[in-house]
């Protein structure tokens, strides 16, 4: 079984600050990390590797600095890694990005594709499902657990919904998007940290994949960001002294008036 895991390098949002003047994210000096859902996807793939001898290939699309994220995945135990990088890919929205990644996966060949559910910088949760549509393979989103049925050579996936779980069994090609709650990603280990130094990261450029130039980059991206704004918090505090029943009613009314319930 060949597993391809799609990962994204994102700024560590726990350390990010907002520029008060421009209202944009201050990315300077903020360390980059593997997106948490994606790191768990690497973990899920490595667990499958241990269970059924799968090979794990990690890919990412991004600038050359994204090599560090790939090398971190190698140091966790992934077998090989590819960086999808080309000027022609710059400015891609989720649709154009998924078009490019799907073309790269087609070139590399995979039995199973793992993606994190969503990235902490964009929070769209669109790229995984879009890749599966481009590839024309089934998708299972929101995986909270993945098991391998050795007898049938199938994957048993527990999908998480708001109020329930659904268990699906899948055999053959598929794409699974994974929740960070599936498991805690393992630490990098010293053996693989040293071994990754001897591994080459394959670079996949525009010329390596079959993709319509009109469907990628800025011109292939139907999404246009009109504006971004920071939420303003109203810090006014109103104190009411009421008996419990009237207090409860006052709270409900206040929440209703703000359309929160």
């Amino acid at each position: 079984m060949k597993i391809i895991v799609c990962i994204k390098q994102v700024p560590n949002t726990t350390e990010i600050k907002i520029d008060p003047i421009t209202n944009t994210l201050k990315r300077d000096g903020v360390p980059s990390i593997i997106n948490p859902d994606d790191k768990t996807a690497v973990e899920a793939a490595l667990q499958l590797k241990e269970k059924c001898g799968a090979t794990v290939t990690v890919i990412t699309m991004g600038p050359m600095q994204a090599e560090k994220a790939l090398r971190e995945a190698l140091a966790m135990g992934a077998d090989e890694a590819f960086l999808i990088s080309d000027r022609a890919f710059a400015g891609s929205d989720t649709l154009a990005t998924s078009t490019i990644i799907a073309a790269a996966i087609k070139k590399l060949g995979a039995d199973v594709v793992f993606c994190g559910r969503q990235a902490i910088d964009g929070d769209t949760a669109q790229v995984g499902p879009q890749i599966s549509e481009h590839l024309g393979i089934p998708q299972i989103t929101y995986a909270a657990a993945i098991d391998y049925n050795a007898e049938r050579g199938s994957l048993v996936v527990k999908r998480q919904f708001e109020d329930r779980y659904q268990t699906l069994e899948v055999k053959g090609q598929c794409l699974i998007t994974i929740l960070s709650t599936l498991d805690k990603p393992r630490y990098m280990n010293v053996w693989d940290i040293i071994e990754q130094d001897e591994k080459e990261i394959g670079i996949i450029t525009f010329n390596d994949i079959e993709v319509d130039p009109a469907a990628i980059g800025l011109k292939g991206s139907p999404t246009k960001v009109k504006s971004t704004a920071t939420k303003q918090f109203d810090k006014t505090i109103e104190t009411l002294e009421l008996d419990p029943e009237s207090a409860a009613k006052a709270i409900v009314d206040a929440l209703k008036s703000r359309h929160l319930i």
Partner: protein, 378 residues
């Protein structure tokens, strides 16, 4: 090209120390409990065999990675730092450097994988700084040496299965002839005696070792017969870098905890970080820590590259780092005020842990002897 190996190793060991070691530090100290579960986790990540070549089951890493591991672990917990330092510098390293091919194949895979922990025995009740005054004897018989005597203050004792033991094997031209042996805890007649109750590094197991007619096979002689004292001194040169890194880590941990504390502690309606005394004390401590760090990594490079300056570099690193650790932790307790003296805050533990770094693997006075000896021999 970026050196991803160092970047990734540093990221891993920092995450590991912060998430796995730090939460246990207080408990390990209070209960005087060996952090066996942490050592097991370290073994799974390859940390017990960082410097061991791949053909013996190690990771094939360099000395710098190992030293930075001791430093980062000690930032969180001085006990955990010395467990690794004693295992690697005092047992794995001498087998790597003086062992025969058979000894390496027999002992290194278990030590590198962490299935077994290593330790070293030189100190005796009457042989501390006067290390040559050994009483433990190893008498050569047909196919073995007969080991009798005892050792004290042995780090990792009880948890270790593989020990490097120094003993007298005869008379030499300038006094007793000493030799080094690889001794297994499973050998008949080997036993672990009294466990010391210590001021600091209380989770580290420090015990007496007793040898009663222990038959050590001849193939377990490490290096040549009569090379024991030389092997012990060279081994301690390496070990001192480990202890210097432990001291450095303790100082850094105390400084980090204190920086966070002075920002949140308010007196006279402002945080105490706004007082110039706090600012100047922190500036001086941070500068000392930076200087100690520079010395530790100069010595590390000397070890890695087998430079002739190693003895002096290691002595300077240990002398300066351990005295820095003592000064930094003492002043960090002071900046915490009364709270710093309680076990609610980590700095009192760090101050107790720091003290031993001025004593073991050669006291500060011994380091001064090594440094001045080299100066005056020129």
């Amino acid at each position: 090209m970026a050196n991803y190996k160092s970047i990734l190793f540093e990221q891993m060991i920092k995450d590991f120390a912060e998430n796995e070691v730090k939460p246990l530090a207080q408990e390990v100290d209070e209960q005087e409990r060996f952090p066996a579960e942490t050592v097991e986790k370290m073994a799974k990540l390859g940390l017990m065999g960082i410097i061991v070549p791949k053909q013996y089951g190690g990771a094939g890493g360099d000395y710098r990675m190992y030293i930075s591991a001791v430093e980062e672990l000690s930032k969180a917990c001085g006990t955990t730092g010395v467990v690794l330092s004693a295992h690697m510098s005092l047992c794995v390293a001498p087998i790597l450097e003086y062992g025969t091919e058979e000894q390496k194949q027999k002992y290194l895979p278990d030590l590198a994988s962490g299935r077994k922990i290593g330790a070293f025995g030189l100190t005796e009740p009457n042989a501390g700084t006067d290390a040559a005054n050994q009483q433990t004897t190893a008498v050569e018989m047909d196919d073995h040496y007969l080991l009798n005597g005892s050792k004290i203050f042995i780090t990792n004792a009880g948890y270790a299965s593989t020990y490097i033991i120094i003993a007298i094997t005869g008379k030499g031209p300038k006094g007793p002839e000493m030799s080094a042996f690889i001794v297994e805890s499973a050998f008949d007649g080997f036993s672990v005696g009294k466990k010391e109750k210590k001021m600091g590094i209380r989770g580290s197991s420090t015990c007496e070792l007793i040898f009663e007619n222990v038959k050590v096979p001849k193939e377990n002689l490490l290096g040549k017969r009569g090379d024991g004292f030389k092997i012990a001194m060279k081994t301690l040169d390496g070990g001192r870098i480990g202890i210097a890194a432990q001291a450095l880590g303790i100082a850094e941990g105390a400084l980090d905890a204190t920086i966070a504390y002075v920002k949140s502690r308010k007196q006279f309606n402002r945080s105490i970080s706004q007082f110039q005394n706090t600012q100047f004390v922190l500036a001086d401590l941070a500068t000392r820590v930076a200087a100690a760090k520079a010395l530790v990594y100069v010595a590390t490079d000397a070890k890695q590259n087998k430079l002739p300056t190693l003895s002096v570099n290691a002595a300077q690193a240990k002398l300066y780092s351990s005295e820095t650790a003592m000064e930094v932790t003492t002043k960090c307790v002071q900046l915490h005020g009364g709270y710093g003296y309680t076990r609610e805050y980590p700095v009192e533990r760090m101050m107790r842990d720091a003290k031993i770094t001025e004593i073991y693997e050669g006291t500060s006075e011994v380091q001064r002897m090594v440094i001045s000896g080299a100066l005056l021999r020129k």
